[in-house]
């Protein structure tokens, strides 16, 4: 089964030089992402027409379709796209760094740190803002950075490769420790606060405008630039750290950059939309099944596919039980959970 799959996939890869393969991948997945971002805002409780949205003859103030498209729906769709892209590609990078295809962006404790930050901001009624960041995203970003810093400090020793086992264990431990703190604060808190945090934990792409997106976007862009720089080294690194070292890869530097960039992308995504699970594992695996495992292909493809995937999930979240809205994290988990189990069975 695996042999047949790999063979057919590879024949495809061999016939095309890398440049053509990369071009085609970007084109196909780019079209998918763009299509999702254009179509999703057209669907909703009020139906609008794309022609009317872009009809210049109607002034914006009178163009209800354009208002719904640009003000109500587009920010939400764009938030879905960049969060999906960030989580999926951060998943790819962490899976290569840990040499473990079952790692997720939340394996490193970043999401629990973010949740704790958000929770504290909610229950303490924090009012600190910074540029485009309102109190809750700011607090969750701080919590995410803090937990990433703790894990990083524990797993790195000067000049040596990162200890991936310490990285994993510290991340998992931090995750459960912070989760316990969250439960404790929830237990002590009042009902309204508890509801808000639980809702935050379910993930929500209704970010309320372009402002919060502009806050997270630069962080995610920086991470993407680093991802692009690392992509070919990640191939060699995923074969083995010592093999990578003998192929001219600066292993310690590559690992550090991989950790920092994926933590950055994950933190920004989580601070924007809460910890939306399964995107970071389902999308990389689907992309590897479709496009092969070379990170120079998988990284951009996962980012674009992740964008389309989360936009589609969010579309389902707001339409399936309309007018009631299902939290998007519930949708991704309901799709992703069984998929993850299927992956495990398939592997075994």
């Amino acid at each position: 089964m695996t042999v047949i799959e790999s063979t057919s996939r590879f024949t495809h890869a061999q016939l095309q030089p890398m440049r053509a393969r990369l071009g085609k991948t970007l084109l196909a997945y780019g079209a998918l992402a763009l299509g999702a971002c254009l179509l999703a805002p057209l669907v909703g409780s009020t139906s609008i027409s794309l022609a009317r949205v872009f009809d210049r003859s109607i002034p914006f103030a009178d163009n209800v379709d354009a208002q719904i498209f640009f003000i109500a729906r587009l920010p939400r769709v764009l938030a879905g796209a960049i969060v999906g892209a960030a989580l999926a590609s951060a998943g790819v990078v962490l899976q290569a760094l840990l040499r473990n295809p079952l790692a997720t962006p939340f394996t490193l404790g970043v999401s629990a740190g973010a949740a704790l930050g958000a929770m504290l901001a909610i229950s303490l009624g924090a009012a600190i803002t910074l540029g485009p960041f309102s109190p809750v995203p700011l607090a969750s970003l701080t919590g995410a950075f803090l937990s990433a810093a703790i894990v990083y400090a524990m797993a790195t020793r000067s000049g040596r490769p990162i200890s991936t086992s310490v990285l994993l264990l510290a991340g998992v431990t931090l995750n459960s420790f912070f989760s316990a703190l969250i439960l404790f604060i929830q237990y002590m808190g009042d009902f309204a606060e508890t509801y808000r945090t639980v809702r935050w934990l379910m993930g929500d792409l209704d970010v309320g405008g372009f402002g919060p997106i502009l806050g997270a976007l630069p962080l995610i862009m920086v991470a993407f630039v680093i991802f692009a720089m690392l992509s070919s080294s990640l191939n060699v690194l995923s074969v083995g750290t010592e093999t990578a070292a003998t192929r001219g890869v600066d292993v310690a530097r590559t690992q550090r950059l991989a950790f920092i960039s994926s933590a950055l992308a994950t933190s920004a995504a989580v601070s924007l939309a809460g910890p939306i699970g399964f995107v970071g594992i389902v999308v990389p695996h689907l992309v590897r099944l479709m496009a092969g495992v070379d990170h120079r292909i998988v990284l951009p493809a996962a980012a674009l596919f992740g964008a389309a995937f989360l936009v589609a999930c969010d579309l389902m979240a707001r339409t399936v039980l309309a007018p009631v809205e299902v939290p998007v994290g519930v949708v991704t988990a309901m799709l992703g959970g069984p998929f993850f189990l299927w992956l495990l069975i398939r592997k075994a």
Binding site: S6, T243, R247
Partner: protein
């Protein structure tokens, strides 16, 4: 280019140098070796004597505590990583990629040191990869997934990947361990051809004394982190050195049909009383 190990000492310091998932405690003491350009050198010694550590030092993965390792007269830890990888390639004992790479993808990764950060492999790199597949007799496997190959096929693919680095020196860590007899012979003749046809210097750590006797023109015998003997195979491989090395009595003689030395282990020698 000659690879020279000059009075190198090394110890794993548990806080700094122990690599992940390993608990080495041995060390190397004052090791000196000369790997002549175009030679085939065998590293022999009991388990845990420091053979793998020595290979890692020669590959520049580990850095000596004392002494220096030079390649063509330059200290290797002063050579930039990528440049060093164009000259020295390593074939580890086992290679377990985390993802389902194809054989051609694995071999093309050998081109990594030759490519810039955003440079994709071009026709020249593909030609070199094809040539490496051909040299190792793995061209028919190019489209297969690496993980579905047999042990001997994997080993040849990893050697092909090392060849794609176009190195002057190939370091191999027990290349025939866990392979059946036919594969062992195949790897041996492959290494012989690579050395003869391409002039690649070869250093291999091995437990197979007969492989070493037939393939290597010089041997280094390592025990407890020290070099017991280093020189021409015929001079170094004797019943006395084998007893010193392994505490084993062996019969060493010239095999009539092949003309190589043959080692027949007889019994475990009693440990010398102190």
């Amino acid at each position: 280019m000659a690879l020279q190990v000059e009075s190198v000492s090394f110890e794993y310091n548990s806080r700094e140098d122990t690599p992940d998932e390993a608990n080495h405690s041995f060390s190397l003491t004052d090791v000196s070796l000369t790997i002549r350009s175009g030679s085939v050198t065998g590293l022999l010694g009991p388990n845990g004597c420091g053979k793998t550590t020595l290979l890692k030092l020669m590959a520049g993965v580990l850095r000596p505590r004392r002494g220096v390792i030079t390649l063509g007269g330059r200290a290797i830890h002063g050579i930039p990583r990528r440049e060093l990888a164009k000259q020295i390639a390593v074939v580890p004992q086992e290679t377990h990629p985390a993802f389902d790479y194809s054989v051609l993808e694995m071999v093309l990764m050998g081109r990594h040191p030759h490519l810039g950060n955003f440079q994709l492999e071009g026709p020249k790199d593909i030609d070199i990869a094809r040539d490496s597949l051909l040299a190792t007799g793995t061209q028919h496997l190019a489209e297969r997934a690496y993980m579905t190959l047999s042990g001997g096929e994997k080993q040849r693919v990893v050697i092909a990947s090392g060849l794609a680095q176009a190195p002057d020196v190939l370091l191999l860590d027990e290349p025939t361990a866990s392979l059946d007899l036919a594969y062992q012979l195949e790897i041996a003749s492959l290494l012989y051809r690579l050395n003869r046809d391409r002039g690649v210097s070869i250093v291999l750590a091995t437990h197979d004394l007969n492989l070493a006797a037939s393939l290597c023109d010089s041997l280094a015998l390592v025990r407890s982190g020290r070099v017991l003997a280093h020189g021409e195979t015929r001079e170094v491989l004797t019943a006395a050195t084998i007893r010193q090395l392994y505490d084993v009595d062996a019969d060493v003689h010239v095999h009539e049909t092949s003309g190589h030395l043959t080692v027949v282990p007889i019994r475990r020698a009693p440990r010398p009383s102190l």
